[in-house]
Symmetry: none
Subunit: 207 residues, 2 copies
DNA sequence: CTCTACACCAAACAGTTGTTTGATGTCTAG
DNA sequence: CTAGACATCAAACAACTGTTTGGTGTAGAG
């Protein structure tokens, strides 16, 4: 009955995702029981163990009431639209957050990987190509080794703060602005202190 | 010693905010004890009660391990730089948060006028000129009579949901997309049901 | 048929939870 | 000085936590 197993697993996963976003805290094992229609805590305990073993879920050392989704877990859940659901041609009622399937706050500010996030206000116009303009607000996630091509926030020479795309080239790193009027900056890797990765850009609609 | 009281209160509030963002789950009362340097669970229990009474914190019906900040609570925390908590690198403080007092949460989600806000996912490319593109997340504030020129979300003929700029022309209204390839739509005012006004656009940085 | 694997259940366990009770010390107002 | 408000503590409580133990039913492999 491997299929139905997966069924229950992902149901637990979705329930976990929903509750973690909706409320402030993840549910307890017995809450999950009710949520997914099971009658024994042990069953959920069992599934949680598997989910953790397979890397979908991580429990903090703390233990009590702290099963949180990993990246992998969120991917699975992501298949079912977790974020806003505006399906074409419906009234807004179908869209409003009433039953709260989505919490913008937690989506923006709580990292799935446990890394911390903070906000920055953009100065300068070097990143207009990446849809980042002066005055925009950036949600930055702490990340000391982001992937190549990521938009990052970095300290240059211990002084200047810049927002650029990052590319590694041997012992050097290339910082590429997304504005044709600016030129790439290439510096030794040790001169660069990567502070974090830009995960979201927030701004008003321009007119 | 009312001052020191407030001191401990806001210390608890900050600890709560930090842990809620950092980990997946809020701390327990005894964890808060250690976190803010108290020795009795009752003391924290007492403070939490006050914080809840004053509207800074809300505990879910569930009770266990679920003290979460309210908007009001976030605002207080925001005064002391919560989001600008850039530990490792100095230099970032220079850029972090304009005047040091800013809360993304309350800025995005709490309307000053008391109107409700909700989020929408964008479909279609008619608003690229207003820095709104397909897949973006919109923070929309309920507003039945937004000012001319505002970017609004509206129901057209009770069916289609559109995002356009609004201009009134006598008994008609003109809906202007911000994309040269699309043309204006002019309809009788009574055919249009304005749902709200777009206050923020949220999206990842493009590469 | 037997063996193993799986999903599920019920009951009991020790540890932790929020909460209550009772008490101490320190301020301020009357 | 007394009375009240406040912050703090220690100890004990029932309720709930994750976990363990033992067991049932179903499916497929040998």
């Amino acid at each position: 009955m491997a299929e139905q197993l997966f069924e229950k697993r992902s149901e637990i996963l979705r329930f976990l995702a929903r509750r973690s976003g909706e409320k402030g805290a993840p549910p307890s094992i017995r809450e999950i029981c009710k949520g997914v229609g099971l009658k024994s805590a042990q069953t959920v305990h069992h599934h949680l163990g598997r989910l953790e073993g397979d890397g979908y879920v991580r429990r903090l050392d703390d233990r009590t009431r702290t099963p949180v989704l990993t990246e992998k877990g969120w991917e699975v859940v992501g298949e079912t639209p977790l974020l806003g659901r505006i399906s074409a041609g419906r009234g807004l009622e179908a869209v409003a957050m009433d039953d709260g399937a989505y919490s913008l706050t937690s989506e923006l500010l709580s990292s799935r990987s446990g890394r911390r996030r903070y906000t920055l206000r953009v100065e300068g116009d070097s990143m207009t190509g990446a849809r980042i303009e002066e005055g925009d607000l950036l949600v930055v996630e702490e990340d000391e080794s982001p992937p190549d091509g990521a938009v990052i926030v970095a300290l240059l020479g211990g002084e200047k703060v810049t927002v650029k795309s990052l590319y590694r080239e041997g012992e050097m790193v290339r910082l590429r602005p997304h504005n044709n009027e600016h030129e790439d900056i290439v510096v030794p890797a040790e001169d660069l202190c990567v502070q974090g990765r830009v995960v979201y850009v927030v701004h008003p609609p321009s007119r």
